[in-house]
């Protein structure tokens, strides 16, 4: 599998467990073309809890969403700020994302 593989084999405790799937619905996000809008939502601040299929874009602070449960090593795109990201396990076990230039 290459570095650009969208979903790398999971490592750690999730290995072997199938990923949850999610139905995404359009919300209030209007900053990308209509066909991509459901993959993003506005972040509501510190109390906004992210789902297992969501991660916060470190560049523009938009919530990026996937139809799949996310795991460390996954590749994501923030279309709002045109950034390619790689998911990693952050402190306290929350998923975070780093820019891949």
């Amino acid at each position: 599998m290459t570095d650009d593989a969208p979903l790398r084999a999971a490592v750690g405790p999730d290995e072997g467990r199938p990923r949850q799937r999610f139905l995404l619905e359009d919300g209030d996000f209007d900053e990308v073309p209509p066909k991509y809008r459901r993959f993003y939502r506005h972040w509501k601040g510190a109390g906004d809890e992210l789902g297992p299929n969501e991660v916060l874009c470190p560049v523009c602070k938009v919530v990026i969403r996937s139809t799949r449960e996310l795991r460390a090593g996954d590749r994501l795109y923030c279309m709002a700020c045109m950034t390619r990201l790689r998911v990693r396990a952050g402190e306290l076990g929350r998923l975070e994302a780093d820019c891949e230039y």
Binding site: R21, P33, V62, D74
Partner: protein, 263 residues
């Protein structure tokens, strides 16, 4: 927020190949469909039905000064982005920057219009009279970098420093502004997401491919840092942000430069 587990997978944006992703997001096609989402139905950056809230005289004065500085910043961004089109190293970047030029022109127009709404008869003269000396100096240095065809340095000054500053200040101001100004700023912030992202990603790619360019960017950062912080300070004072919250405002800029590897 939909978090319901589903059985059937759907098409996933994150499965795009990196090249395909970049070609899409840098295109006019992408830009048209994006701005249509939040600008359709607006007039000079706000919904026609949004009601004007009466402002007390001192409040109006402060707002006019802040908007004059925004106009100066957007003029710098418009002239800077226009110049960057000519020196961008590839066609994809040139196309993206041409969408940015359109955005910056629109920002300037809606802000000038807002000044006119507030009763400013001669916005050009008012901008000249009220704008910050540090921002004028920043503009002079930015355009100097563009004129010297120093792509990485000019992109850093324009799309990392200036855009991060505008993104943060406009977002902050939007929260406390009158309804019309808040809508105008909200639309601008949505454009700014693309601009800051383009700057950081393009620069990140260039530095990855040619690490020797890092020293030059560090030099530009050192040269412009004090001007950036001064401009931040002056603007947030005019907006009326409490002193205790001000250090937070530089965080977006500092986080962006830290991700690029600059302390």
């Amino acid at each position: 927020m939909a978090k319901t587990p589903a059985r059937e997978p759907t098409v996933e944006v994150h499965d795009l190949e990196p090249r395909e992703f970049l070609e899409q997001v840098h295109s006019f096609e992408f830009w048209f469909q994006s701005v249509e989402g939040y600008l359709a139905g607006t007039r000079y950056g706000h919904r026609p039905e949004t009601r004007e809230e009466p402002l007390a005289a001192p409040e109006r004065e402060r707002l006019v000064t802040v908007l004059c500085n925004y106009c100066l910043g957007e003029t710098a961004a418009l002239e800077g982005a226009s110049g960057l089109v000519a020196i961008a190293p590839n066609r994809l970047s040139k196309v993206f920057l041409s969408t940015q030029v359109v955005d910056e022109g629109r920002h300037l127009e809606v802000l000038l219009h807002r000044l006119a709404d507030l009763g400013v008869a001669d916005p050009e003269a008012e901008i000249e009279r009220r704008s910050s000396a540090s921002l004028r100096e920043f503009k002079r240095r930015l355009l100097g970098l563009v004129a010297s065809k120093d792509w990485e340095a000019a992109l850093f000054a324009q799309n990392v420093i200036l855009e991060a500053m505008e993104f943060t200040v406009f977002q902050t101001h939007q929260r406390s502004a009158d309804p019309v100004t808040a809508e105008v700023l909200g639309g601008i912030v949505k454009d700014e997401r693309r601009h800051i992202g383009f700057g950081e990603n393009e620069l990140g790619r260039r530095l990855r491919e040619s690490p020797h360019r890092r020293a030059r960017i560090g030099e530009v950062k050192r040269d412009l840092d004090s001007l950036v912080l001064e401009t931040f300070e002056e603007t947030v004072r005019e907006i009326g942000i409490p002193a205790v919250e001000r250090p937070e405002l530089g965080r977006s800029y500092l986080a962006a430069v830290a991700r690029l590897g600059f302390p």
